[in-house]
């Protein structure tokens, strides 16, 4: 390489290409783990609880997650907040029919995530409040139920959800 300019540029070119490998990725992410048990007969969805939707902080998980399953990972923002979810007991997530019943729940405690990490939102009767059919799960107040059904997931409820009965009165 006779041209001194070109010769001198060789090292910087290698250096510059190396910069491309610099990774400073530190976004936060969130993923939903449906920890409800998978039925012995895994082909019978009526024995299972599907997580229909989840909202945490800024992340909406709109695709149902079958029992034992994990959702897609969604970009989120570092912070801490409780997660809100709709459970669809006995509903087959592969079905084209809408679930016949939705139960609003929320996590017992705020869930936090920092930058560069992934929050796993574990949902089961030990982590959420509001699933009337489960002993482990506590009960939502009516205000909490209204908040979830009217503000967080307003498009999924017509009428008023009764937190005590886990039923909708139209």
């Amino acid at each position: 390489m006779k041209n001194p300019t070109l010769r001198n540029l060789t090292l910087p070119c290698v250096f510059a290409l190396g910069l491309g490998a610099c990774q400073t990725e530190d976004a936060a992410y969130a993923v939903v783990d449906n920890d409800y048990p998978v039925a012995t007969d895994s082909h019978d969805p009526s024995q299972q609880t599907t997580v229909y939707k989840v909202w945490w902080s800024t992340a909406l998980f709109s695709s149902p997650v079958a029992a034992g399953g994990e959702s897609e990972t969604i970009r989120a923002v570092a912070g801490g907040e409780v997660a809100y979810a709709l459970l669809a007991p006995g509903w087959d997530p592969t079905s084209s029919d809408p679930p016949s019943m939705l139960i609003p729940v929320m996590t017992h405690i705020p869930l936090t995530v920092s930058r560069g990490t992934t929050l796993h939102i574990h949902l089961s009767d030990t982590t959420v409040v509001g699933n009337c059919g489960a002993r482990a799960s506590g009960q939502l107040t009516q205000d909490e139920a209204d908040f979830i059904t009217q503000r967080i997931f307003p498009g999924d409820f017509i009428g008023t959800y009764n937190a005590k009965a886990c039923a909708i009165s139209r």
């Binding site: 300019t5 001198n8 400073t24 800024t58 989120a76 923002v77």
Partner: protein, 853 residues
């Protein structure tokens, strides 16, 4: 050999001949006008370079044998160390003589020019005659540089039929200016936006983070992303017409800041060579033909306590050949910003240009630039979410905002001087552009389930050209400077607007194919009947033709643009007068009066929507101003101006509808001052006051939302020799700001102003350069881009539901009324308040550069 020397030329170095040699000291500070007739550079205490070793050129053997003689005009640049860093032929005597002259002068050494005790870079023009011994009667005089002189004004040589030499066009408005790289190198330069801040009265703020175009404020305009500010680089327009996000969208992120050599600034619609968008003003970035050195640089930066660092790598190659100048620059980088949702803004840029000096009177440039970037944005966050503690100042409601963009362009330019008093310039360009932007302004107002996120898509090819012819002639002592020119630009655009959720497309709202062509022609005649008076009259005619194809033929939305074709045209007269009542060595004064009409085009999709947008919006402006130079140290300028805009009706790309607005009037005053405290230390300051209003009073005093009322900028900058091995220290403490302004037309909601201080320090050595920048030195917690927006957070009451007791939208905010009319009646229709992008906090950047040759 001895015989050859005996017959060789006597080298007449005309360094001592004031008539043919000109020495240029570099600018001490900005505000160099675009001509030179009113130099603002402090030339006192400047010592010109003196010649050291200067081996004589070798007489070309063939020319010697053929007994040919010649004079080569050479322009050489002498660096701070006294070396010739660049040499070019300004006047050719043929390839052999040119090559011999260049070879010789590149080996010369000098004692560098000095400003006070500080060595400075300088440029010397000289003539190198090649004379056969028999024709030479004198031995060469001792080479002595001429006394320093400012850049010469257009010279008149009374040579019988009046031969005139072209100079750069003189200023024709008090608010016009030109700023060279030596000025903005004293500022923190992290991006080209930092360079644009040298424009007096222009405030730029970062908007939604990352690769999105900045928000521009100038002369009472919140020019959004560039609707009333014409931005260009080497004459190639940056503004995008009928852009998916906003008319005139000007993303300057594709520019590598180090390639910019000069910024040319005008304000108002007074200039015949400027067409679309040049209503509030125009800024043209002029790139350098070559660098002094090839180099490699690496920079890193961080806002301590906020996220991951940013980095930037820069590679510059500038191989030099005779008659050819080259610039090859490449930049890569990543930026995260201080946001809780990191920007992850990855970008690469290329800028390549080759300039060939075809002949002493003509040059041809060809170039290419490429840019690609993708990023995440944090959008404009509602103040109430921060007040309630739901998110932090650098938080985000929708972390999926952001997008990707790319711009690739080819360009070629040609400059030719058919004679000493005429010049032809031509420019052609073609480019492709891609843009995908995800935004969420209203959050959960329209769709409480999925959110209101949108995607704007823009794919286009743009191409165009410019040509101009300028001739200067003199008749009976009156100087006539005539310019005629034409320009054209076409855009073939495909654009879409989608409702999305987490970047997944839900339903398409708009889909259009657009073609538009703008053709303009202009003439400008400047008459100088006396040294103290210049008169300019001119005008331009523009015609816009366009076609819109609606791809959503099944849409039932009444505001969805129809398919159609149409055209519009406008004639824009211009006139200026410049009076120079004082033109003494220590006191110079120019008084300017300007009148002009201009326009900005509107998004042509709005022409076929309802209500319809006018394709061209006429602007009419007047200005009275003055520039003065006192004691060769103080430059001051002031301007009073007025601008009327025919209407503010615009197409809103965010929801694909028309925003109706009537005629507006803006007027204001601007003041600039620059003072050289010491030869190495200067201070400057600019302040503007503006009043903006709708011409018709809609029971709110004609209030006009977001129009800036006051802007200010200034600082102190220094450049001095320092260190045991002489190098140049440079530094600057600068500030800029904008006053409080109404965010809503009724003025009830206010966008608070701010003042930001930045610090720059740098040291340049022959072999390296290091720059240290601090942005937002005092860590001010203010808002950058701000918009009065009605939005709804997911946790707030549903639309139309009763407002709970105790609910508040927060400070500087109010409950929105029912958009269908009838007020709110105690129900919730969102909160109306300022949504904003926070300014960067205290941020440190370091950039090191190694020169390779």
């Amino acid at each position: 050999m001895g015989n050859l020397i005996g017959r060789r030329s006597s080298l007449l170095l005309c360094l001592g001949c004031a008539a043919s040699a000109v020495f240029h000291a570099p600018l001490a500070h900005a505000a160099g006008p675009t001509d030179g007739t009113t130099p603002t550079v402090e030339e006192q205490q400047v010592t010109p370079p003196s010649l050291g070793d200067h081996p004589e050129p070798v007489y070309p053997p063939r020319a010697l044998s053929e007994k040919r003689e010649g004079d080569v005009g050479v322009e050489i640049t002498i660096d701070e160390a006294g070396h010739v860093s660049d040499a070019r032929v300004a006047q050719s005597a043929g390839p052999e003589f040119d090559a011999a002259a260049l070879t010789a002068v590149k080996a010369w050494t000098f004692t560098p020019a000095r400003r006070g005790d500080t060595p400075i870079r300088s440029t010397v023009s000289l003539s190198i005659p090649f004379r056969l011994a028999s024709a030479t009667t004198a031995t060469p005089p001792a080479p002595t540089p001429p006394p320093p002189t400012p850049e010469p004004p257009p010279q008149t040589q009374d040579n019988g039929d009046s031969t005139l030499v072209l100079g750069r066009k003189p200023l024709s408005a008090a608010s016009s200016t030109s700023v060279r790289d030596r000025e903005f190198q004293l500022r923190p330069i992290g991006s080209v936006q930092d360079i644009l801040r040298v424009t007096p009265g222009l405030v730029l703020v970062q908007h939604s983070g990352g690769g999105k175009a900045n928000q521009y404020f100038l002369r009472g305009f919140d020019a959004d992303h560039g609707t009333d500010l014409a931005l260009s680089i080497d004459g190639i327009p940056i503004n995008m017409v009928s852009h998916a996000h906003g008319q005139g969208f000007s993303d300057t992120n594709f520019i590598i800041p180090e390639t910019v050599e000069r910024v040319e600034i005008t304000k108002g619609p007074y200039f015949a060579n400027q067409g679309d968008f040049a209503t509030a003003g125009s800024v043209n970035l002029v790139t350098r033909d070559n660098f002094e050195h090839s180099s490699v640089g690496f920079g890193a930066g961080s806002s301590p306590g906020y996220g991951a660092p940013a980095y930037r790598g820069l590679l510059v190659a500038t191989p030099k050949w005779d008659n050819v100048k080259t610039t090859f620059a490449a930049e890569i980088g990543r930026q995260n910003g201080p946001f809780d949702n990191p920007e992850n803004w990855d970008k690469y840029k290329l800028w390549n240009k080759v300039t060939y000096q075809v002949s002493p009177t003509s040059s041809f440039s060809i170039g290419e630039s490429s840019y690609g970037g993708e990023w995440h944005g944090s959008g404009q966050i509602p103040g109430r979410a921060v007040e309630r503690g739901q998110i932090g100042r650098f938080g985000s409601i929708d972390p999926n905002e952001g997008g990707s963009t790319a711009r690739h362009q080819l360009f070629a330019s040609y400059k030719f001087r058919p004679s000493e008093n005429s010049e032809v310039t031509a420019l052609a360009y073609v480019g492709t552009y891609r843009f995908n932007l995800f935004s969420n302004f209203t959050l959960f107002l329209k769709d409480p389930n999925n959110g209101d996120e949108i995607e704007q898509v823009d794919r286009r090819t743009f191409y165009g050209g410019k040509v101009s012819y300028r001739v200067v002639h003199q008749l009976r002592g009156v100087r006539f400077d005539t310019t005629i020119g034409a320009d054209t630009r076409s855009d073939d655009i495909h654009e879409e607007l989608w409702h999305t959720a987490q970047r997944n497309q839900l339903n398409q709202l708009r889909g259009n194919n657009v073609h538009e062509t703008l053709i303009g022609a202009y003439v400008s005649e400047e008459v100088t009947p006396a040294k103290w008076l210049r008169l300019n009259a001119g005008g331009r005619a523009d015609m816009l033709s366009f076609a819109v194809d609606n791809a959503l033929t099944g849409s039932t939305d009444a505001q969805n643009p129809r398919s159609g074709t149409d055209s519009a045209h406008q004639f824009s007269p211009k006139a200026s007068a410049v009076v120079t009542p004082i033109a003494e060595r220590n006191y110079e004064l120019d008084v300017y009066a300007n009148y002009g009409e201009g326009f900005h085009s509107n998004d042509v999709r709005g022409v076929f929507s309802s209500p319809a947008v006018t394709p061209l919006t006429r602007a009419r402006g007047e200005e009275l101003g003055a520039r003065a130079r006192l004691l060769r140290k103080l430059d001051v300028a002031a301007a009073l101006w007025n601008l009327d805009l025919a209407n503010e009706t615009t197409w809103n790309g965010d929801d694909g509808t028309t925003n109706v607005g009537g005629a507006t009037n803006r007027y204001g005053a601007e003041f600039e001052a620059r003072y050289e405290l010491l030869p190495w230390l200067s201070a400057d300051g600019d302040i503007t006051f503006t009043h903006s209003q709708f011409t018709a009073d809609h029971e709110n005093g004609g209030g006009l939302a977001l129009a800036p009322k006051q802007t200010w900028s200034g600082g102190m900058s220094a450049r001095h020799t320092i260190g045991p091995v002489p190098g140049i220290f440079r530094g600057g403490l600068l500030f800029y700001g904008i006053g409080d302004r109404p965010a809503s037309d009724d003025g009830q909601i206010v966008a608070p102003g701010f003042t930001q201080f930045d610090l720059h320090a740098g040291y340049r050595h022959r072999r390296f350069d290091i720059a240290f920048d601090i942005e937002n030195l005092f860590n001010g917690q203010f808002r950058a881009a701000q918009f009065d927006t009605t939005s709804r957070l997911r946790t707030e009451p549903g639309i139309g539901k009763p407002v709970p007791a105790g609910f508040s939208c927060g400070n500087n905010a109010r409950l929105a009324t029912n958009p269908a009319g009838g007020g709110a009646n105690g129900n919730f229709y969102g909160c109306d308040e300022v949504n904003y992008t926070p300014a960067y906090p205290f941020t440190v950047r370091v950039m090191g550069t190694i020169f390779l040759d």
